[in-house]
Symmetry: C2
Subunit: 139 residues, 2 copies
């Protein structure tokens, strides 16, 4: 699967490509604490989602919502947090994070809380397979 050329170095090191859909890369964060996806539009812009054409905004939020619904069901998540922040990494990306009561940041947000924990190879493989299954379900 070809990755797009331009990817912020921090996004590249913090996450792995899991798939592509609706002209977005879907990446899995390397953090054992959470099942955490990034949705990175192929526009590869530092601008914010609200400045994309309205049809494109709708497409991206629709994909985010579909993934969130699948994540909630598959992982029995108590909540799925959706966000566009980008205060540190400016390249446009959305966060989709499965949250469980009592998880490492609960009930706070995951952003800027503690340090990411490197997942084992087995956990990473499991999560990548899960992400790819969720994407296939949304296709």
């Amino acid at each position: 699967m070809a990755e797009k050329n331009r990817l912020d170095p921090r996004l590249a090191s913090d996450s792995l490509l899991a798939g592509q859909m609706a002209n977005c890369d879907i990446r899995l964060m390397r953090d054992a604490r959470f099942f955490w996806l990034l949705l990175i539009p192929h526009e590869q812009t530092d601008d914010e989602i609200h400045n994309l054409p309205s049809q494109r905004q709708a497409e991206i939020w629709q994909l985010a919502g579909a993934l969130a619904a699948r994540i909630k069901a598959e992982l029995a998540a108590d909540r799925v947090n959706l966000a566009a922040i980008g205060n540190i990494v400016r390249q446009l990306h959305l966060h989709i994070v499965a949250r469980h009561e009592g998880d490492a940041a609960w009930p706070g947000p995951v952003w800027g809380r503690g340090q990411a924990e490197e997942p084992s190879d087995a956990l990473l493989a499991d999560r990548l397979a899960m992400a790819q299954r969720l994407l296939a379900d949304c296709g």
Copy 2:
């Protein structure tokens, strides 16, 4: 302006009604540190946005995006953070927060950071007027 009957007590005490649009209440957070709006769909559900009908999800995100774009322009914000979290307050609500480099939580997220600072009456009045102007622009 009639408020809807059911509003989570924490949302009620932390924010003020600024207006209504697209079958959502728009509320202003009582926090001097940030220009921070809540968008509360009239569905008055504890469920998450991704479980609303897809047309309704699109309508809500469209309103959020339009408000974010106006906020960015009017307040010369460096970034506008958009999020659906709801780990603590379960009633469905979206956050739209104007962020400026060097603000009280920068570059972290605003959720769960420090304590809200009660705005002066003058600041609250200014911000309510601003929120109402932004809503009118989006109408």
